[in-house]
Structures are given as structure tokens and as C-alpha cells.
């Protein structure tokens, strides 16, 4: 390998990128746009679940209970009902996903027994949403119960017998506000870099074939390794800028807590960039039309990174066979690393497993890419 030829290639490639400001703008702005769309769009939090209220008693106490649901922020009252049958009707129309029914003798029962039943009904067509809403409902009920117990104790001087004596005190670590955005955004960064990185390099070889410049280039003593490194270097720089943009947006715009250290973040990001740019380059070598290469790059990166990287669907909940399959999805290693660095402040040694995974991948891709390009026309 000759450094002068490598430099000549890298410089030429940089000039060509610079001469094509539209492509450069896309390469730099696309990731920002995707950050905005995915960052705001993808959220597993459910707020303002539409709630129907059938308050049969309509007393001060029953209204207080309903108010506890609303003030939690998770529910908003969409309809107040007068008849039991209307619940079904409201669910069918989609005007509510949940309903609570306060019985007619609610406050009397509560005053006598220290406990009273309240019915909650959920539209469980969307299991995921229902589970979350159910959790919220229990939270709201617990809040109401605590208020009641405090009131009872003040009035009677003792605790009501039937109210739970064991109080669960949940303590959530690493994402204290249980904000799913903190969990998702690092994944979004990984997915965007995987997509953009492969797109960037997928055109680099096919462009030369299409324009006819490749025939001249391969008639020179330049080696395949020099071509690969010369072409990847400028895109590596663009990839780093993109990564910087995305990570800055995650930290400063979406306020995802960043507890790790910047060096860990950048060494792992560089490793990941090598993999994604290398994959784009491999595709570019194999497919000689720009359009074809770009589409294959999209196909190869889009589905696996979205579905199997663990960015939205947790890998440990997948069937064993699918879990095994995720080992070849390079984005999963980076998703794990980013979540660790962001939320847990993990160090390089804590993250040795995904780092080894990514390194093996990087070596394999570079090895394949270096061997893939042949200085032959057919």
C-alpha cells in the first residue's frame, strides 16, 4: 500500500463530494431530519388515554376519585355516561379505551368497611397500550387509596383494617422518570447512522463504473486496498460529523441523560462507522448501478436495524431462534453500547461484550471489502 496514492484518492473523492453540494447537504441534513421525526414520532409512552366515566353515585368522594385519574395526566375524560350499556357503545365507537364505573353506594361502603370496589374496563385490542394503561389506572387508584387512608386515620385514629399493609415502593434506576424517550433515542441514533452510513458509501464504486471513470482508474497501478481506504476516508469524516449531530441532538435537544464519557462514546462510534461504511462499500463493489446499490443498501440496513437491533423490540423477549439471528445485526451491539453509555455511564470495560461483537464485525467487513474489489472489467 502506498500512502501517496491513498492520499490522491481520498483528496479526489473529497473534491467530488464538495462539488456536489446537494448530495453533501442530504448527507448532513438527512440524519438531523430523521432524528427529529423518529425522536418525536417514536414513543412508547401513553398519555391522555381517553376515559369514559360512569359515576353512578356522583358524590363528593366519587368525584374525588375520578379527579385522581385525570390529574395523573395519563387519562383524559372523553365522555360521561348515564347507562351501563353505553360503555360498550363508547368502546365500539373508539371514543374511549378505558372506562371506570363507580357504584351507586361507593362512599357509604367505603365509610363502613374501609374498602369499596370500583370497576375499570379496558379495550384490550391493543395489548401493549392496555397493559400500560392498566398500570396507570392502578397507580391512580393507589394514589386515591393513600388519600383515603390518611383521611380515615385522621378521623378514626386507626388504620382501616382491609387496606393493604404492604406498601410497594417502586424505585426505577437509570431512567428515573420512566420516560421511554430516554431509552429510544440512543437506539434512533444507531438506526440513523446504520442507514445513512451504508447509503453514503453505496454509491462510491458504482458511480465510477457508471461514469466510465473506473476503466481509467483500474488501468493504473492503484491497488484494491488503496481504492477502499481512499474512498472510505472522506466518508468516515462525514459519518463522524453525522454522528456528532445526532448525539448532540439526543443530548441537548431531547435531554437524554448522558452519564458516560465522551471518549468511550467516540471510540465505539468510530468502530460502528467502520462497519456501516464498509457494508455500503461492499454493496457498491458488488452492484454496478448507483440506483441498484442504493436500494440494496436501504433494504439490507432498514429492516434488520429497525426490527432486530433491540431499538424498539427488546431482544430478550424474542424467541431463541430470532435472538440468535440478532447476533448478525451489527446495529444491536451499538444500540446496547449507546444505551449503556448514555443511561448507565458504562465504561469501555463494562461494554466489552458488544465492543468485541462490533470489532469482530468490523474486521470481517474490512477483510471482505478489501478482497471484494477486483481490477477487472468483467
Amino acid at each position: 500500500m502506498n500512502l501517496r496514492r491513498l492520499f490522491a484518492l481520498a483528496y479526489k473523492e473529497t473534491l467530488q463530494i464538495w462539488r456536489d453540494p446537494r448530495s453533501l447537504a442530504i448527507a448532513l441534513l438527512m440524519p438531523l431530519m430523521q432524528m427529529a421525526i423518529l425522536g418525536y414520532g417514536v414513543s412508547l409512552d401513553i398519555k391522555h388515554v381517553p376515559l369514559c366515566v360512569y359515576d353512578q353515585e356522583n358524590s363528593q368522594q366519587s368525584r374525588g376519585l375520578v379527579q385522581d385519574f385525570v390529574s395523573s395526566g395519563w387519562f383524559s375524560i372523553s365522555r360521561r355516561l348515564e347507562r351501563e350499556a353505553d360503555i360498550r357503545d363508547a368502546m365500539d365507537r373508539g371514543s374511549c379505551n378505558a372506562a371506570i364505573v363507580v357504584p351507586v353506594n361507593f362512599s357509604r361502603t367505603l365509610a363502613m368497611n374501609g374498602t369499596a370496589p370500583v370497576q375499570a374496563i379496558f379495550d384490550a385490542t391493543d395489548v401493549n397500550t392496555t397493559n400500560i394503561a392498566l398500570g396507570y389506572a392502578q397507580g391512580a387508584m393507589a394514589q386515591a387509596s393513600r388519600e383515603f387512608v390518611t383521611g380515615w386515620a385522621a378521623a378514626h385514629g386507626t388504620q382501616p383494617s382491609l387496606v393493604g399493609q404492604i406498601n410497594l415502593e417502586p424505585n426505577t434506576w437509570f431512567n428515573e422518570t420512566l420516560d421511554s424517550r430516554n431509552f429510544i433515542i440512543p437506539g434512533v441514533v444507531a438506526v440513523i447512522l446504520a442507514l445513512v452510513g451504508a447509503q453514503l458509501t453505496s454509491l462510491t464504486i458504482s458511480r465510477e463504473w457508471e461514469r466510465g471513470t473506473m476503466e481509467q482508474l483500474i488501468s493504473t497501478p492503484v491497488t484494491a486496498l488503496e481504492v477502499m481506504l481512499g474512498k472510505l476516508t472522506p466518508y468516515f469524516m462525514i459519518g463522524l460529523i453525522d454522528a456528532g449531530f445526532c448525539l448532540a441532538v439526543a443530548i441537548f435537544w431531547f435531554h437524554v441523560p448522558f452519564r458516560g464519557n465522551v471518549i468511550t462514546l467516540f471510540t465505539t462510534t468510530m468502530l460502528f462507522l467502520i462497519v456501516v461504511l464498509g457494508i455500503g462499500y461492499l454493496i457498491s463493489v458488488r452492484i454496478r448501478s448507483q440506483l441498484g446499490a442504493s436500494q440494496v443498501a436501504l433494504l439490507v440496513t432498514m429492516l434488520p436495524t429497525n426490527l432486530l437491533s433491540g431499538y424498539t423490540f427488546p431482544i430478550d423477549q424474542m424467541p431463541a431462534a430470532i435472538q440468535a439471528l440478532t447476533l448478525v445485526v451489527y446495529a444491536r451491539y451499538y444500540v446496547t453500547i449507546l444505551r449503556g453509555v448514555f443511561l448507565k455511564g458504562s465504561s469501555l470495560t463494562d461494554l466489552w461484550m458488544p465492543i468485541v461483537g462490533l470489532s469482530v464485525y468490523a474486521l470481517l467487513i474490512i477483510w471482505l471489502a478489501a478482497r471484494a474489489f477486483h481490477k477487472r472489467i468483467n
Binding site: R4, A8, G212, E215, Q216, S219, P221, K375, R376
Partner: protein, 322 residues
């Protein structure tokens, strides 16, 4: 001339694409400083041969050496010693004249202190002085071709392979291009240049005529002009040309007939003076019987084009026979 060693040597060079034989057992030997013209119809195998000699395509059979290096086993050494211009323009259109030259200087590792001198030479040679910072895609054809040649000789290669370098270039620019090739030859650069312009054949020291992948003639323009045509050559002006061509192809005593400009070139067999075969004097009458107006036939000296046309059609007929 004893010191002159062949720089390009091919033995039985063959390229097959599936069933199609593009180059068929080609033997060729080119000496230092020679300008050899590669001539033949489209699809004859000129580009394929040149690409094999540059190491861009692997031969199916046979071998070749360029500047003493084997084209298969020492492909990189071959590439160090050649300059190549492909049929399609292949410099970077989105880079300027200077940037293209600088790029190829780097790729060919031109010694650093010589870069500016050699780039200046290439720019002057291409006639692009004052346009160094122009984007190459905005240049006209002739300038593009000369710049491509300039890029191909930056590293002073002893051997040049030029694949139809003058196609689509205006005549004046073509003539200037050939002047450049001869300047380089005077310095000892060996050149194999393909073309489909017959007039350019005259600029070459030797001509290799190739048809259907086979080398069918090799020699200096004078040697080729003196190849026996199988009779005497006559030029006859007549209208309509197409009908006359058809009539004469079938006529007795006519060895060969071809359209040449606005006239026909007719080769009459050696025995055309007797028997029931046509003689030169009979031609106008023979054509008049078919309703074709013709002037008297005149004997002419064969040009290179006559020789090529005859060699190619003779090959065609031999194939049809077998």
C-alpha cells in the same frame, strides 16, 4: 535495427465470452518506438485485445508480455509501464483540468519535484493553457481527448494503448492528435492505437488489420497496398450505386466490388481479357443493359481501404464456404 526489441508480444491471445469468440488466437509483436494502427470493423475485437494487454480483462487462452512483463502474472508491473486511453472518455468531469492531472500524478507517483513541470507539459500539449481551472466536463471533444492523453503519459510510460482516441473528434483535432503521437514515438514511446478512420491508417508505421477476432493482415501501409487483390482495380462512376453494386456482384469475371465514395471499385479477375467474362471496356454496356447509367471504367491504384475491404470480404466468403 538489431538493438530493437519487441515491447509488446502476444502469442495466441484469445478471449471468449460464453460462445462468442471476441479475439481468436492473435499473434502480434510490436517494436520499441513503433506506432501500430489497429484497424477493423466494429466488434472485430480491437478493444478486447487492448484491454487484455492492459490487464483489464483476463485472456481465455494464450499469453502476452508488455514491456517485458506478463499481462496476467505481473499485471501491476504492466500497469506501471503503460498509458491507457479507453474508448469512452474516462477522466473526472466534475474535477478541473489541473485536479485531474494532479490526481493521476499522485496515482502514478510522479516524483514530486517533477510534478509541476510534467503537468505544465501536459497542459501545453493539450492546448489548455489558461483553462487549468475549467471543469473537464465543459471541454470540447478534442481538448478532452488531448487531456486524456496528457493524463495517460504523466508517468512517461514506454508503452501507450489508445482505444479509438479520435472517435467523434473533428478532423483538425484528429490531425493534431496524431502529431502528438508521432512526437511521443520520436522519443521512443511505443503505441498501439485503434481507429476506424481509414485515413488515419496512413499515419502508422504498421497496420494490424483485425476482423472477427482474427488478425488478417499486418504490415506497413505500403506493404498492404501492394497485397495482390486478385486482379486489377477499376473505378467506375454510375447511378444508381446500389443497383450497380448488386448487378456487378453477380457478374462473371468480377472478383470484388465495393462502394468507394460516390463510385464503385471493381476488381476484375486476371483472366478478364478473354472468354465470356467481363472486361473493363464491357462494364458500361453491361450496366446499361440493367438500366444503370455508367461512365467508362478507369484503372486505379489500390488504396488501403480497397485492401481492407477485400481482405474482410474474402474472409467472409471463406467462412460462408465452410
Amino acid at each position: 535495427m538489431n538493438a530493437v526489441a519487441p515491447v509488446v508480444v502476444a502469442h495466441g491471445l484469445t478471449k471468449r465470452f460464453h460462445d462468442f469468440i471476441a479475439v481468436d488466437h492473435l499473434d502480434l509483436s510490436i517494436n520499441t518506438g513503433e506506432v501500430v494502427g489497429f484497424i477493423g470493423p466494429n466488434g472485430a475485437g480491437k478493444s478486447t485485445t487492448i484491454r487484455m494487454l492492459c490487464g483489464l480483462i483476463q485472456p481465455s487462452e494464450g499469453s502476452a508480455t508488455v514491456a517485458g512483463f506478463d499481462i496476467e502474472k505481473q499485471a501491476e508491473a504492466v500497469r506501471e509501464h503503460i498509458g491507457y486511453m479507453s474508448q469512452k472518455f474516462s477522466l473526472y468531469g466534475d474535477l478541473t483540468v489541473r485536479e485531474n492531472l494532479r490526481f493521476f500524478s499522485g496515482i502514478y507517483r510522479v516524483p514530486r519535484r517533477e510534478i509541476s513541470e510534467r503537468m505544465a507539459f501536459a497542459i501545453t500539449m493539450a492546448g489548455l493553457k489558461g483553462r487549468e481551472d475549467t471543469l473537464v466536463r465543459t471541454l470540447a471533444g478534442g481538448w478532452k481527448q488531448r487531456l486524456a492523453l496528457g493524463c495517460a503519459i504523466l508517468h512517461r510510460p514506454p508503452v501507450l494503448f489508445l482505444d479509438e482516441p479520435t472517435s467523434g473528434v473533428e478532423p483538425e483535432a484528429r490531425r493534431r492528435f496524431w502529431d502528438l503521437i508521432h512526437d511521443l514515438a520520436a522519443e521512443g514511446v511505443t503505441t498501439l492505437v485503434s481507429t476506424h478512420y481509414m485515413d488515419e491508417a496512413e499515419y502508422c508505421n504498421r497496420i494490424a488489420l483485425i476482423d472477427r477476432g482474427k488478425l488478417i493482415a499486418l504490415g506497413s501501409p505500403r506493404e498492404l497496398r501492394n497485397l495482390p487483390l486478385g486482379g486489377d482495380l477499376f473505378e467506375i462512376r454510375c447511378t444508381p450505386l446500389g443497383a450497380a453494386l448488386k448487378a456487378l456482384t453477380q457478374a462473371p469475371g468480377v472478383t470484388d466490388v465495393a462502394i468507394f465514395g460516390d463510385a464503385l471499385h471493381v476488381v476484375l479477375g486476371a483472366n478478364h481479357k478473354g472468354g465470356n467474362t467481363l472486361s473493363a471496356g464491357d462494364l458500361p454496356n453491361f450496366l446499361a443493359q440493367q438500366g444503370i447509367h455508367a461512365e467508362p471504367a478507369q484503372q486505379v491504384l489500390p488504396s488501403l481501404e480497397d485492401v481492407f475491404v477485400q481482405l474482410v470480404t474474402r474472409g467472409q466468403e471463406e467462412r460462408d464456404m465452410s
